[in-house]
Homo-oligomer: 257 residues x 4
Amino acid sequence: MNAIADVQSSPDQRNMPINRVGIKDLHLPLAVRSADGVQHTVARLTMTVYLPPEQKGTHMSRFVALMEGQTEPVDAPRLRTLTAEMVALLQSHAGRIEMRFPFFRTKSAPVSGIRSTLDYQVCLSGEIDAGSYCHTLEVLVPVTSLCPCSKEISQYGAHNQRSHVTVRIACNEQVDIEEVIDLVENQASCQLYGLLKRPDEKFVTEQAYDNPKFVEDMVRDIATALKADPRIGAFRVESENFESIHNHSAYAVIEYP
Amino acid sequence: MNAIADVQSSPDQRNMPINRVGIKDLHLPLAVRSADGVQHTVARLTMTVYLPPEQKGTHMSRFVALMEGQTEPVDAPRLRTLTAEMVALLQSHAGRIEMRFPFFRTKSAPVSGIRSTLDYQVCLSGEIDAGSYCHTLEVLVPVTSLCPCSKEISQYGAHNQRSHVTVRIACNEQVDIEEVIDLVENQASCQLYGLLKRPDEKFVTEQAYDNPKFVEDMVRDIATALKADPRIGAFRVESENFESIHNHSAYAVIEYP
Amino acid sequence: MNAIADVQSSPDQRNMPINRVGIKDLHLPLAVRSADGVQHTVARLTMTVYLPPEQKGTHMSRFVALMEGQTEPVDAPRLRTLTAEMVALLQSHAGRIEMRFPFFRTKSAPVSGIRSTLDYQVCLSGEIDAGSYCHTLEVLVPVTSLCPCSKEISQYGAHNQRSHVTVRIACNEQVDIEEVIDLVENQASCQLYGLLKRPDEKFVTEQAYDNPKFVEDMVRDIATALKADPRIGAFRVESENFESIHNHSAYAVIEYP
Amino acid sequence: MNAIADVQSSPDQRNMPINRVGIKDLHLPLAVRSADGVQHTVARLTMTVYLPPEQKGTHMSRFVALMEGQTEPVDAPRLRTLTAEMVALLQSHAGRIEMRFPFFRTKSAPVSGIRSTLDYQVCLSGEIDAGSYCHTLEVLVPVTSLCPCSKEISQYGAHNQRSHVTVRIACNEQVDIEEVIDLVENQASCQLYGLLKRPDEKFVTEQAYDNPKFVEDMVRDIATALKADPRIGAFRVESENFESIHNHSAYAVIEYP
């Protein structure tokens, strides 16, 4: 096997570093550890490192090998370790791992208390750059938004719809996925549930009507709550409302700082 | 160039006909002619023919060449001609062309009359099989649905959301895309608009509240209207409601006959 | 709570049965049992029943409740039980459950033997109709295809690409997901791996070149193998080749009988 | 109509500016002017403005009204005007318009000269921020990549695949969409065509084999060409290779400066 040429390791003359090179959309089962315990899900991974100008190519198979050898549930400390291992394995000094996966939570309906599962889209990323490590947590939380203008100007009813609120935070201390979900769901016109009995449906209908929010209100109220948390250094909050009266979305984003 | 082998034309020994073979997802600009005139859009095309057991391969480039040579606006008669030309060109006796494209209509807001554009997804298909030709028209119409149960049990408000109603019809006589859109929009809790002034928003909010429909009502009312049209031989109507209180859809389909 | 109106249970006057009504795209974690054992994945579920003309609406929450109460790993017998339970719970006589999920397999590289995971898209469906039960298994297997024409006419090289082969079978007896995967991978120009060392990469490159297949060959060879299996009553095999020399796909489908 | 409350215009107390608020995924037909002339396509638009802390909401309908009133073909100067008009209309001092659309070009096959159409994904964006205007052009160019390692270590053949190269440039002077396409296609292992005759297929197969490129080579060679163009102030070049031997992508990105 030594006789097989190693093209990637040959020198490169173009004097052009590559910011990030690696693999994208590797699909793997993944155990995730969060506040509520360990859950089994499936992830799409993007793993990249910095490539210095003098090196022709990176070693793509090492990214996959690293993940194949990893069996522990992933949480923030574990991702930090994996990112450091990847950068060392690829003989680089900078790199990033992104893990995107559906995350599930059991919720209790607001009146009947009946329990059901709701799904959220999460992206964890760990990055080493210029000698320091940064952990980012992104959560897409689906909620109900109800339009204050429609409520105000109409004799009855108000248009409402499903909205996707996406919060991304860079945190030095531990912030759990569940905490971000709670924070967003508390600021929505109403939160979603997998299973609602009729008394629950009455409750969520009236709660949304009692609690109208523009897309602007949603991102402002969530941003206010995020700013109040000393563990969160920087954040981005985005809401896309799939307007029930249009075929386009209302959209807002706040980035801080 | 004659010396280049024609592998596709060699005989095949497996005794296995292929129902449909050709190309998928060819992207092209397309002019479409409908009741309101000719509009420019972009299409994704799937073009296939039956391949008899004795033939090793079809001639993929001929599908593309046929479309490259076609410059007329497409309507039902033009699609019929194209389908016949394709089947002849590929030396087959059966084949199908599917053209998927966004279709745009100018609508007037219900109170202010202000005009704006709404987009619909359309699929035209022409098929020759067993000596006869079948034209199919499929239109996805986005609408508002408002839940009768939520309205009935709640003191105020009612959950509503964007819904996708997809109607597919096989028609011997001409049925225009605009007719299908009108038929669906007339049966929804309310139709969508690109642009609404405040008096319009009040109108659509109240209209949806006055006109609640389950996903079952939507498909039944549309099916009833379709059955009443003697030009329509067979149809399929499907509604997917992106529930504003859940993270899944309510869904119903009626196929006739 | 008894005072809350049950709108769905009221009678309907339109005399229009609904072929399928229920929920779509419910996301849940799912344990799947197959030949290699039990694996944890995540599923998107569509669950529908027939609704008779006299009934206004189905009971959407019962679909979700059924799945929330289900904790056993899913295999063909378990899906059959679930389908029967759903139809009984919704007081219907016909219904269908579709479960779509990524399925993972550990594979050994062809020369080094190094092990890695590959992902496949699977759809299991169980349907009760007219008193009989039908189980359907659909597997999307990603493979390499290499063009025989390109190889034949070129002095060196041959264009190749990733292809998606989708096999759907209706089976009376048990056919495992792994069996369908093996059958497809054995007929491709070459199979895919998550992790390949250089000797493996040499092997798969040469194997694909030694084993060129048109999209027509792929579906014919797979159909031939499926026809030879007495457990399989009916099937559909489809291949989409994401041509590396075009921006559209080559596509073929065989349906049997 | 004057009696209808204008909720959006009421003052806001949260002291929280919104970086971008507006509409997302508005679908419209669009005429685009580029080097080869004017073409008709369809666009998805995202239009946002900065909202100061004291203002409760933006006026969503004005974004749509601006585009409904716009009939001229869009090019860089026209987008600049539209962006300025939007910011003025929404009484803001900062804002961005993004227009995503398929762009079509007629190409001649390399040997036969036969002409056909190829599609590219383009995003034009115009942004006003802190008193200055920035125009960005992004083009996704699909190409063929052929692996140098696979070629080197194998006795015959080499794995190749479709790749998506995405170039985004910020330019003070006019750079045409066609120029970016040419630049990328010239650096690929081979470019794609809608229609190839057999002599053409022989040509592209051999050209790709003669011109192997890692994902690293692709982004480096394109970045080198972009750096040499004095009109381009900053750029980002990204390549995703849909590996024909794996079920994940090889991926690289260079950002400059």
